[in-house]
């Protein structure tokens, strides 16, 4: 070692080094001991006696504007509020605050309400609360329900009629959405949250936590927990670490790459729901050059056979999904789901279809026809690009095997994605969606019906790219006008069949589960496939 002759340099002695080390260690131990004690105290305070549960929830998505406030309701359902009906884990609609309902021609729904229910402030639940709550929805445009200030009529204390401003026979299946919760009359959730649910609010600290405690006067079965603290932790990896540290007892949205590791320690389990969401590709069938290749039915059908869904389920979703023939959860279609057959991986058949359509392999194995290369562009960005990774690369490799070249374009956010969709610049569109209400026609109707003049812009953008035409529209019309569940399911399934089996506009890739990480001391937790309808009353914590 070459040493400078500077006398200051040579003065680093063992004594100096020891003093430095001692100071550093002292400071560290001081910080550690005080931090450790505090952490232990916090752990004891969180305790589990009395059934207290700490939940690691995704980021705080609540709104707090007047009339639009949905604190405690959506997207994190704290069970402070209840709707007239509830969505079961198999996507059926069951009574909740309404005991029964009936359709009255031409466009009215009459609800008979549950008696003996009180709000958290002691106010009795009556039809007036329904009128007040529907009035809040009407004040912001009526939502998907299509209600205005005159739509809700109180017949008597426990009977109420709702007449949407447009024909809407799907109303009971839409009412279960937590945004349609019933709030106490003359209260505004932007200021105070008073519901009828099994838990009542203790504290809401924006972007930090939401705390609820059991409501003694709950009309139903008493909740097993005395208190739930929902902590907002936006980063999924941090949520997993918080679970592993014992800081929280249960976490939402376990990242699929961590799902396999959680149960290995024995301290945690992975709770999975039935299929409640999906990943699918939509093919642009009305695009202008150079995005017009999807107009060729042979290419669309070939795509459906060229993609190995099993590899995507096992490789991309790491087994936390299942192969799905439908876009929306099969459970919501009931027995009618079986009428949709889908396609199975068959690259030879895909090649034969392309050969027959005149697409022949070129020197670099990419097919060409009349001098044009078979190159498709996949747009990835809804709801964000991250959620699809690494699916696009899997599909790219599989399509290359049958001579289809694919370029991947990732948009930075939903707005950029939708902007691109508006101009139709893309052939394949990767989307992940969720089914959060009981209406099986909601997504097919929104995304694939033929655009109407002056229709809503987003629906128009989707329709301009993907609408398969009259057959599909006819099924959607049946779906809109049907009353019985079976009729609705049959119509929705028929519409999906046009999209998937006949026109190959939609290529379902996977039906995905909700993934929750659960500490072993938590019992009774049943993951709901629609994340926004999670129920907490049956959960208990044991030491």
């Amino acid at each position: 070692m070459v040493r400078d002759r500077d006398p200051f340099q040579s003065a680093l002695t063992r004594r100096h080094a020891l003093r430095l080390a001692g100071l550093t260690a002292g400071a560290a131990s001081l910080a550690v001991s005080s931090g450790g004690l505090a952490a232990q105290a916090a752990s004891l305070a969180q305790g589990t006696t009395g059934g207290e549960l700490v939940v690691g929830a995704p980021q705080d998505g609540y709104r707090n504007e007047p009339n639009r406030a949905n604190i405690g309701m959506f997207p994190l359902n704290s069970n402070v509020f209840e709707s007239l009906v509830r969505l079961t884990p198999d996507y059926q609609v069951e009574p909740l605050l309404a005991e029964s309902w009936e359709f009255v021609e031409p466009n009215t729904w009459r609800f008979t309400l549950r008696q003996g229910v009180t709000f958290h402030d002691g106010t009795p639940f009556t039809a007036e609360a329904v009128r007040w709550s529907m009035g809040r929805i009407a004040a912001t445009g009526g939502g998907v329900l299509g209600v205005d200030e005159n739509s809700t009529v109180v017949v008597d204390d426990f009977t109420v009629e709702i007449t949407p401003t447009r024909p809407n026979r799907r109303l009971p299946q839409q009412l279960n959405h937590p945004n349609n919760s019933i709030v106490a009359p003359n209260t505004e959730p932007a200021e105070t949250r008073v519901g009828t649910g099994p838990f009542r609010e203790v504290e809401y600290s924006r972007e930090d936590q939401y705390v609820v405690e059991a409501f003694d006067g709950y009309w139903g079965e008493a909740p097993g927990l005395s208190r739930i603290t929902f902590r907002f932790i936006p980063d999924a990896t941090t949520r997993v670490l918080a679970l592993q540290s014992g800081e929280v007892d249960l976490i939402y949205e376990v990242p699929r790459e961590s799902a396999g590791d959680l149960p290995s320690s024995g301290d945690f389990t992975l709770a999975t729901s039935e299929v409640g969401a999906y990943e699918a590709l939509y093919v642009n069938i009305h695009g202008a050059e150079p995005y017009d290749l999807g107009q060729d039915p042979a290419i669309r059908e070939a795509l459906a056979y060229a993609i190995d869904k099993e590899t995507i389920v096992s490789g991309v979703w790491q087994g936390n999904a299942e192969i799905s023939n439908t876009m929306i959860p099969p459970g919501i279609l009931g027995p009618a789901a079986d009428t949709i057959t889908g396609t199975t991986f068959d690259p030879d058949r895909a090649s034969q279809l392309l050969d027959a359509a005149g697409w022949v392999p070129g020197d670099d194995d990419v097919r060409t026809k009349d001098g044009r290369r078979l190159t498709l562009t996949m747009i990835v960005g809804f709801p964000n690009a991250d959620i699809h990774r690494p699916m696009p690369e899997f599909v790219q490799a599989q399509l290359a095997d049958v001579g289809i070249e694919m370029e991947i374009v990732q948009t930075p956010d939903t707005a950029s994605y939708e902007e691109r969709l508006t101009t139709g610049e893309g052939d394949l569109w990767a989307e992940a969606g969720s089914q959060n209400d009981g209406n099986p026609c909601f997504l097919p109707d929104l995304l694939f019906t033929t655009p109407v003049p002056d229709g809503d812009p987003e629906s128009t953008a989707y329709g301009r790219a993907f609408a398969p035409g009259a057959d599909f529209d006819a099924h959607i019309e049946e779906c809109r006008s049907a009353v019985s569940t079976e009729e609705v399911q049959a119509a929705a399934a028929a519409a999906m069949k046009v999209l998937i089996d006949e026109q190959f506009v939609v290529i379902p890739l996977a039906g995905t589960f909700r993934l929750f990480g659960v500490a072993s001391k938590v019992t009774g937790f049943e993951a709901h496939p629609s994340g926004v309808n999670q129920r907490w009353a049956g959960v208990t914590v044991t030491e």
């Binding site: 680093l12 550690v32 952490a39 916090a42 445009g141 932790i233 980063d235 918080a242």
Partner: protein
């Protein structure tokens, strides 16, 4: 000093106007219709074309760019940065509500970085090529090379998951600030340490240091009283720039540690094309940058008496 301060304050005006123009132009050029996104969020359904047209009119989005810019700047100079499309909050209030949270971890991180980096940088220079020097260089190289998200997860794994000494995420106690501040401070301390070392090495070789020693001053007086003071000017400049950069760029750390600062709020606003918040944030942070730079410039006069700011 006061004339210089006044002159600098006057210069801030055109720079601030330039920042405001860039902020306004860039957000206006980005894809996505804020009127439709706002309505979607407010109505819980897809808005009709008529509703979108009306909303664009109400939000003033149909006016020419120059008209909108002049109106916005006119309000901004009075402290009115508009109202968030997304949350309905006044933008300035929303930013000021969250800014202190970001400021806390940034100050703690930078403070910790300075406390660690300065002594180590000085010692590494004074005892050049010693084990301490080698160790400090290795540590600073590692600190500057590791991405902040990776550091954050490592710190959580070690101090929260394994040792249970600190909380994983959230807020409430001083312990909640330790890991985010450490994550923010680590890379800064690494660069400050390297800079301090190199500046000190250069200064220690200059004539006035030799003269000081020849006068019989002790090692501490020479190093701390003379050499360090001269070496500090570039260090303070870099620290000031890093401080302002950390304030505006703490979004990853805030997200990982569920820290409700300004970065996460603005990121969500970008995704929702909440133009008033995006524009307000850029102008707000631009103002903070300008003020931090001003403070750094003024500090030169305190550090080096040869700089006669008031008599330039």
């Amino acid at each position: 000093m006061i004339p210089y301060l006044l002159r600098r304050l006057v210069y801030l005006g055109p720079v601030w106007l330039g920042i405001s123009f860039i902020a306004f132009a860039l957000s206006s050029l980005s894809p996505g219709d804020p009127a439709r996104l706002t309505l979607q969020r407010q109505l819980d359904r897809q808005p009709t074309a008529e509703e979108v047209t009306r909303a664009r009119q109400d939000l003033g989005l149909n006016d020419p760019f120059a008209v909108r810019y002049v109106q916005w700047v006119g309000q901004a100079v009075t402290g009115d940065l508009g109202t968030s499309y997304r949350t309905g909050e006044p933008v300035l209030g929303a930013l000021l509500e969250r800014f202190p949270n970001t400021l806390r971890i940034t100050l703690l991180g930078l403070g910790g970085a300075v406390v660690v980096a300065l002594p180590l940088g000085v010692m590494a220079a004074v005892w050049r090529n010693s084990p301490l020097d080698h160790l400090s260089r290795i540590v600073s190289l590692l600190g500057a090379s590791m991405p902040s998200y990776w550091v954050a997860y490592l710190l959580i794994l070690l101090f929260a998951v394994r040792l249970h000494m600190l909380p994983v995420a959230g807020r409430g106690t001083w312990q909640h600030m330790v890991l985010p501040a450490t994550t923010l401070g680590l890379a800064t301390s690494a660069s400050l340490m390297r800079l301090t070392r190199s500046e000190m090495l250069e200064v220690l070789g200059q004539d006035f240091v030799r003269t000081s020693r020849a006068k019989g001053l002790g090692p501490r007086a020479v190093v701390v009283g003379h050499a360090l003071r001269n070496a500090l000017i570039p260090v303070v400049t870099v620290a000031g720039m890093r401080f302002a950069g950390l304030l505006g760029g703490a979004v990853i750390v805030e997200t990982i540690f569920a820290w409700p600062g300004i970065g996460k709020f603005v990121l969500d606003s970008i995704f929702d094309r909440d133009y008033p918040v995006i524009q307000g944030f850029v102008v707000f942070m631009g103002t903070v940058f300008l003020l931090v730079n001003l403070v750094v410039d003024l500090s030169y006069g305190l550090l080096d008496p040869r700089i006669r700011l008031g008599h330039r």
